[in-house]
């Protein structure tokens, strides 16, 4: 999906590597917890919690984490958090291992909401804070600003304060230039006691369509009505001359019964046979459909993968509390080695910046990308849940009124009863009544 206004800045906030190893002390400890909650819809929610105790005064005042303020971060367009943990060999023979914890937060700020329509941005406007000092625990604390599109002409854009060093590398297949601001460099902070990066446009940018990545995908449900539909995925390859294969993985829940004989893949109007198909049919209430295909995408083309399905009628206890909201189909996953425009050299893990190692390349000719399409919402045929109540009311009324009346008419007999003269109780009661002055029974 193309983002509306991609700002050419991705700020990765990284805490230093090897965090927990340093701050461990006898009274502080790492507590971890895993809570698994099965949900009524069949999903399972798992919540991990790691509690690490730090010295509080060190944490709050330094480094890049001062920018993490929730009220500004929730005015964003997109945010994503990731945690990576892996063991690292401490020496070449790997006799001892240390653990690396990498925490990543990606946010995309909306120019219209933060910048009120203008494309200028600054750290203060985005985070309502500026950087004051580096984190005391950090061995490296840097801010990189992507100035690839602006470095040619200094007339359109002005970056303030001007960068002292730049860093160039091949990221995601294209050559990019970054301005580097090192917080540990005393000259940087001492000048103004705070660092507020700003970018101003000298002349307003034109409103042309934003650039499109080489591989992107869309997914939608065709058809209308509650009986059947068609699941369509569009794969766009916008590379001008290179074709590359894409691995498409679809996991469709069992209540959408896929008809695999209707699977059609067309590129540029012609049929496109996948090189590899793996299909595992669903079992009702046990496992979903699994469809995995390796599709060759021709250069500069749109490939449409479509498969028809029928919506199942669930048992009435299986409906969620809000069945008219719909049921979700999880996104399909596309994995591809996208050819890069510029050959990249293999990454030196220790010397290069952390964001470079997010997209590892094994050879310089392509980079690995995993894309998720959008999730879909489908409505299943929903019965009228008030019908059991209606049926019970109607049946009880019919039984009571009709059957009861007929039964009475058929079986009721009348017989004459002599009035009784009364027993002891009656005579006693009459005595009391005479005493009271009330007429006798």
């Amino acid at each position: 999906m193309a983002a509306a206004m991609p700002l050419a800045l991705v700020v990765l906030l990284l805490l230093g590597p090897g965090g927990p190893a340093r701050a461990e002390s006898p009274r502080d400890s790492l507590r971890e917890e895993l809570v698994i909650t099965p949900l009524p819809s069949g999903d399972v929610a798992a919540t991990f919690q790691f509690r690490i105790r730090w010295d509080s005064e060190l944490q709050r005042e330094g480094g890049l984490s001062v920018l993490l303020k929730a009220d500004r971060l929730f005015h964003t367009r997109y945010h994503s958090q990731a945690v990576h943990i892996r063991p690292i060999c401490r020496n070449a023979r790997c006799t001892s291992i240390s653990w690396e914890l990498r925490q990543t937060l990606s946010v995309v700020f909306d120019a219209f909401i933060t910048g009120q329509g203008k494309k200028d941005w600054s750290l203060f406007r985005m985070f309502s804070r500026t950087l004051t000092e580096p984190c005391p625990l950090a061995s490296e604390s840097r801010v990189y600003v992507d100035i690839t599109n602006y470095s040619q002409d200094n007339e359109t854009v002005e970056v303030n304060p001007p960068p002292t060093t730049t860093y160039e590398d091949v990221i995601l297949g294209t050559r990019r230039t970054y301005a580097v601001y090192d917080l540990l460099d005393t000259a940087m902070i001492n000048n103004s006691r705070n660092l507020n990066l700003q970018l101003k446009w000298k002349k307003p940018p034109e409103n042309e369509a934003p650039p499109v990545p080489f591989l992107h995908a869309q997914r939608y449900v065709s058809g209308y009505g509650l009986q059947k539909g068609e699941l369509s995925t569009l794969l766009y390859n916008t590379h001008p001359y290179r074709a590359f294969p894409v691995l498409l993985l679809d996991s469709v829940p069992w209540y959408l019964r896929l008809y695999v004989h209707t699977l059609t893949i067309t590129s540029k109007g012609k049929e496109n046979k996948p090189s590899y198909i793996h299909y595992q049919p669903a079992q009702d209430r046990l496992q979903p459909h699994l469809l995995e295909m390796l599709i060759q995408l021709p250069a500069n083309s749109v490939t449409k993968v479509s498969i028809q399905f029928e919506r199942a009628l669930l048992k009435w206890t299986e409906y969620t509390p809000d069945p008219n909201h719909g049921f979700y189909i999880s996104p399909s996953v596309l994995s591809a080695l996208v050819p890069s425009m510029v050959a990249a050299k293999p990454v030196d893990w220790e010397g290069s910046p952390l964001f470079n190692t997010l997209f590892p390349v094994s050879d310089g000719s392509s980079y690995f990308v995993r894309l998720y399409t959008e999730p879909l919402l489908v409505n299943l045929p929903t019965p009228d849940f008030s019908m059991p109540y209606n049926v019970i009311c109607l049946t009880c009324t019919v039984v009571a009124v009709c059957y009861g009346s007929f039964y009475n008419l058929l079986t009721r007999t009348f017989h004459i009863e002599e009035p009784s003269t009364g027993g002891l109780a009656k005579r006693l009661a009459n005595l009391i009544r005479r005493a009271r002055g009330v007429p006798p029974l």
Partner: protein, 560 residues
């Protein structure tokens, strides 16, 4: 609101939109794309083209092609699973330019808010409803009406609700709402209640069917006005036309409404800010929806904006009317059985007459009228559009007129054809033939009207109210001219003519005879056109279903 709060800028925008009108007005696609992109939406276009069955007066050519422009406001931090649609239909007469300005202003205002949970699609269509149908078919990737359109490039998930806006002037005196959709479908009543709530909150004057809300329900005026509004809604729903873009959304089970700004001769006028605030409120409430609108009624009749008649109250009326047909059919069945028993008893000891004489004769004499009536109905359905070129070669008329005149010609020709084969009727029971035919015709009519009343109650009730008395009364032995006049006056064409006059009478714009006739011809052309362009069912129902049935009764009347 940035763009609208300054009246000078608002007028400048309106003037800019109006200035784009050229004699052959086409949608300024590039300008719209640029403006929507500057407001911050993801903009896509879609081109479509459609070959009309015959050129009508709005388009005047067979091939209609255009471009739709739509911009998607993506909800922040949401997954694009659901969306709302705000659509403004633009036609060639550019009566909707102010609505485009309001759409852009609202888009700019909505773009700066963080509370959107669903995407909002701002859609500007060309050629009014043709563009809307093209966009809906491409969005749902179906081909229902034979439209050719380029595939869409941007989707926003499942559409939950839609609002269409038609504004022709800078200031409005009232807002009119249209609920009747294609083939008499209605949106969920909750959407109308939403509109009514915001009318009251904003102090706007809101009308239904162009009529104000009656204030006083205790005296006779209130109920009488309510009856007028109700009759107007029945007539509009019975016509099966989509009275606005919302009518086309309903087929895809998307609840939709059309709001029209009316500028009449009232003192108090509302500017676009008031209309914009009502729309903003409606969209914010629709944004809060967790489920699709399903809690309220889908089948209702409206005597006023704040009152409705539910299906449980009005359906028994149609039921009782059809019961008349059922009872009449039962009576005929009993008569046929008595006559049959009497005949067999009389002809038992006689020579071997063909056994059973009654049933055999009845069936044979029934097949011919049935076949011929159905053939006439088929001719009425197929011939006008198929034969328009032949007609224009021989007569000095345009194609649309040729279609309409062929329709009327076949309708009248059906009356004149001698199509009862009375020679096969045995002389012993001359009544049996027409009774059997009338029995079959009554059951046929009851079945059809029952099915129609279930899907489009207003159409079913209207046809039942006019056709049932005539059908029940028809017999060959009575005063023939009187019954003939009654049958002609209750036939489908006369019902259409009468309901047109009634409709304009209720709207307080009565028609003269000549105007009424012109409107009738235009309505016939529209009916045929809408069947081909949107899939409206009135034309095939009347031509293939009710007209042959009505011809059967004509047969019964002129039985010899």
């Amino acid at each position: 609101m940035g763009l609208l709060s300054d009246p000078v800028r608002r007028r400048a925008l309106a003037r800019l939109v109006l200035r784009l009108n050229a004699p052959l007005w086409a949608l300024p696609v590039a300008w719209l794309e640029r403006t929507m992109r500057s407001v911050g939406l993801e903009v896509y276009t879609q081109s479509f083209s459609r070959k009309l069955p015959f050129p009508d007066e709005t388009h005047e050519r067979y091939m209609v092609s255009g471009t739709n422009v739509y911009g998607i406001l993506r909800a922040p931090r949401a997954a694009s699973t659901e969306s709302l649609v705000f659509t403004v239909p633009c036609g060639s007469d550019s009566t909707n330019s102010q609505a485009v300005g309001l759409l852009l202003a609202l888009a700019a205002h909505f773009r700066g808010q963080i509370y959107w949970a669903k995407d909002i699609i701002f859609l500007v269509t060309e050629h009014d409803l043709l563009g809307t149908e093209a966009w809906l078919e491409a969005y749902h990737d179906v081909n229902v009406t034979g439209m050719q359109s380029s595939p869409l490039q941007g989707w926003a998930g499942a559409i939950q609700a839609a609002v269409a806006l038609e504004l022709s002037s800078d200031v409005v005196t009232s807002l009119d709402v249209a609920v009747e959709g294609l083939n008499g479908q209605l949106p969920n009543l909750d959407l109308l209640n939403l509109f009514q709530t915001f009318c009251q909150k904003g102090g706007l004057l809101c009308t239904l069917q162009g009529k104000l809300q009656p204030q006083d329900w205790t005296s006779l005026d209130g109920p009488l006005q309510g009856l007028q509004t109700l009759l107007l809604m029945v007539l509009q729903q019975a016509s099966g036309r989509p009275h606005g873009p919302h009518g086309l959304f309903l087929r895809y089970r998307v609840e939709a409404l059309t709001l029209r700004g009316i500028n009449s001769f009232r003192q108090y006028k509302y500017d676009l800010v008031a209309v914009g605030k009502a729309l903003e409120g409606m969209f914010r409430k629709l944004n809060h929806l967790l489920e699709r609108l399903h809690q309220s009624f889908f089948l209702y009749l409206l005597p006023a904006l704040s009152r409705f008649v539910s299906i449980g109250l009005y359906m028994p009326a149609a039921g009782f009317l059809l019961l008349v047909l059922g009872l009449k059919a039962l009576e005929l069945w009993m008569q046929l059985h008595e006559a049959g028993v009497g005949l067999e008893a009389g002809g038992g000891p006689g020579p071997s007459a063909p056994l059973p004489p009654a049933q055999g004769v009845g069936l044979a004499s029934l097949v011919a009228p049935l076949l011929v009536s159905q053939a006439m109905g088929l001719a009425l359905y197929i011939l006008p559009v198929l034969g328009q070129h032949v007609a224009t070669q021989h007569f000095p008329v345009g194609e649309a007129e040729a279609v309409v005149l062929t329709l009327l010609a076949i309708y009248v020709a059906g009356l004149a054809l001698p199509h009862n084969t009375h020679r096969v009727v045995s002389t012993q029971a001359p009544d049996r033939g027409w009774m059997a035919l009338k029995l079959v015709a009554l059951i046929y009519l009851a079945l059809q009207l029952g099915c129609i009343a279930l899907t489009n109650f207003s159409l079913g009730f209207l046809l039942a109210a006019t056709m049932v008395p005539a059908a029940a009364l028809t017999e060959p032995h009575g005063p023939r001219p009187l019954y003939a006049a009654l049958l002609v006056l209750t036939g489908p064409a006369a019902t259409l003519l009468g309901s047109l006059f009634l409709w304009r009478e209720l709207q307080e714009a009565p028609l003269s005879i000549a105007e009424g006739w012109q409107l009738f011809l235009a309505a016939l052309a529209q009916g045929v056109l809408e069947h081909y362009t949107y899939g409206a069912l009135l034309f095939p129902l009347l031509a293939l279903g009710l007209y042959p049935c009505w011809l059967l009764f004509w047969n019964v009347l002129f039985w010899k």
